[in-house]
């Protein structure tokens, strides 16, 4: 299987998860409003909706990482030249990866100490299921970051050229 094909499968799987989470969150909130207005508030609504938000955060963050959509400040890096730029990009990549490796470890440690704890409103759901999003999300982020690295290295060159072109057009005007 080629890298491109693997990346495509990874992207589609993440998109499927993010779509389901987004839809579930919207449906849960709307259904809860209807029930509350009908005088029968859902006891599990607050807790489940909050957990869905956390899941959306981390699965969505991996998807955003695949598209390099996290907010940062690329202008300085784009102004650097060839080898220096690549070095800085790789150092930044290493920082990101180390953070998520640490978060994976921290997330797994949390899971190991949670034991039999369950959700308050749904006692048949182990807390570990909800919290699993941290180590899983961190690993997915690492994979997404690595898969998008080649494009990111290329992109910085293209953006730089584009920015130079724009500056020239502005100057001509």
């Amino acid at each position: 299987m080629t890298v491109t094909r693997a990346r495509e499968i990874f992207r589609k799987s993440l998109e499927g998860i993010v779509l389901s989470l987004m839809a579930s969150l919207a449906i849960v909130v709307v259904v809860a409003v209807i029930f509350r207005k009908a005088g029968a508030s859902l006891v599990w609504y607050d807790e489940v909706a909050s957990i869905l938000l956390a899941w959306l955060t981390y699965y969505g963050a991996a998807l955003a990482a695949l598209h390099r959509a996290h907010i940062g400040m690329p202008t300085l890096v784009q102004r650097l030249s060839g080898r220096m730029r690549v070095t800085v990009v790789l150092v930044a990549e290493a920082c990101v990866l180390i953070f998520f490796v640490a978060l994976t470890w921290a997330g797994l440690r949390v899971l190991s100490v949670l034991g039999g704890t369950t959700l308050v409103s749904l006692p048949w759901v182990p807390m570990a299921v909800a919290q699993s999003v941290i180590p899983i999300g961190a690993v997915l982020f690492i994979v997404a970051q690595l898969m998008s690295l080649p494009d990111a290295l290329l992109d910085t060159t293209e953006v730089k050229d584009d920015s130079i072109k724009s500056t020239q057009e502005v100057a001509e005007r």
Partner: protein, 428 residues
């Protein structure tokens, strides 16, 4: 780890291109493991990164973002632009007037300035370029008017501020209405003066029947803010529930009334909404991690005591806080800045007797200005990328519009009746 070291490491990480959310997380983790508990404190990072993303009122964020994305996919931005063009297009620099007024309309539906720029800018910036406006002007007016829109409800920074300060999100929303409209008018005046200087064109002459036909076409789009904000302001639904209703209303209006929403567009809107939410929420969670550390080492109390030692005069304290937030806004995204800094300064705000809702508006507007000032300027960067313009060239023109935002900030800070009149009238 000292505050200075935290700031320095954060700055270096952001400058080398590490995303802001992850830079905040890295600094927090380094601070934790170099502290007295060492590596043993690391599992706490897993817990806080989870709990930081599970705050219930924040659920309004993905839903408002999703509603905005759906409405954008269903041609609502196009209809709003047509209406704005019929109303104000006849003035000199007509398209810039259209941009500002459409931004104000759009703000009442979407909660995010970046979403506003992407939605309106993709139509209006190319149109302005075609009509002979400079690309720097086109990007600057789109970017600044979208930021002004952040103080018009619903507003994501206000939701986050409400959660962090424990103030009423509804009151915050209401406090933003008057300054938002005033700022819009002032921005139109600046755009008009620049248009006269550069001889930018007018659009079609004002015609009542054109206003009527565009109003009919955009009627349902205009009904949306009434449904969303009306429900929230009257207390019929909470902000989160109102956001849920916004999603339902946008699907119904886009799919059934306008018939412009099919499954592939809905899917695209949901993916966009999901990604944008994740970007903001990762910032929220990572900021919570660093904020947790700062609270643990009693930074809020130290800052409050330090400033109260210097002055106890409320207006001087507000001036210091404004300066502080302006500097923070240069380097941090608004979500991160609110989560990190609001808990730090809240003891001071309370001690000085400043109304937290009034302060919330000051913070939101202040960090909005930060979205316009490089190096970290998410809204400006989006506008520049749509306009394919150089960020520094745009910033030169943008100074005129930023001066409007600063004027509004001073007005909101020192004439509290401007933001608070409606709140006092209806909620207190």
């Amino acid at each position: 780890m000292s505050l200075l070291a935290i700031g320095a490491v954060l700055l270096v990480l952001v400058l080398i291109g590490v995303p802001i959310a992850i830079s905040l997380g890295i600094v927090a983790v380094v601070a934790m493991i170099t502290g007295p508990s060492g590596v043993a404190s690391l599992p706490n990072a897993g817990l806080v990164m989870f709990s930081g993303a599970t705050s219930f009122p924040l659920i309004a964020i993905p839903l408002f973002i999703l509603a905005g994305a759906i409405m954008n996919a269903t041609g609502i931005s196009r209809r709003l632009i047509a209406l704005a063009s019929a109303l104000v297009g006849f003035i000199r620099g007509g398209l810039s007037m259209v941009t500002i007024s459409a931004s104000l309309f759009f703000a009442e539906i979407s909660g995010s300035a970046v979403a506003d720029v992407a939605a309106l800018g993709s139509i209006l910036i190319p149109a302005m370029k075609k009509k002979g406006y400079s690309r720097s002007f086109a990007a600057a007016v789109t970017s600044s008017s979208a930021t002004l829109a952040v103080i018009i409800p619903p507003s994501i920074p206000m939701i986050i501020y409400g959660v962090m300060s424990g103030s009423s999100i509804v009151e915050l929303f209401v406090a933003g209405i008057v300054p938002g409209v005033l700022g819009g008018l002032l921005m139109m005046l600046v755009a008009y003066l620049l248009a006269r200087r550069h001889d930018f064109p007018r659009e079609q002459a004002f015609q009542l029947d054109r206003v009527w036909s565009t109003l009919k076409d955009a009627g349902w789009a205009l009904l949306l803010p009434l449904i969303i904000l009306g429900g929230i302001f009257t207390g019929w639904v909470t902000a989160t529930e109102g956001a849920g209703l916004a999603v339902v209303a946008s699907v119904l209006i886009g799919g059934i009334v306008y018939r412009e929403l099919d499954w592939s567009q809905l899917k695209k809107a949901m993916l966009e909404g999901g990604s944008q939410t994740a970007v903001v929420m990762l910032l929220v969670a990572a900021s919570a991690l660093l904020g947790d550390y700062l609270t643990e080492v009693r930074v809020p109390q130290q800052v409050a005591e330090g400033i109260m030692g210097l002055t106890q005069e409320r207006w001087t304290i507000l001036l210091l806080l404004n300066a502080f937030f302006l500097v923070i806004g240069l380097f941090l995204h608004s979500a991160a800045a609110i989560i990190l800094v609001v808990p730090i300064v809240m003891p001071l705000v309370q001690a000085a007797g400043i109304d937290p809702v009034h302060f919330g508006l000051i913070v939101t507007l202040n960090l909005g200005i930060g979205q316009q000032t490089p190096p970290v300027a998410s809204v400006l960067v989006t506008a520049c990328s749509v306009a394919k313009a150089d960020i520094w060239e745009v910033s030169k023109v943008n100074l005129y519009f930023i001066s409007v935002l600063v004027t509004m900030l001073l007005l909101v800070t020192y004439v509290p009746i401007v933001p608070m009149a409606l709140v006092e009238m209806f909620y207190r």
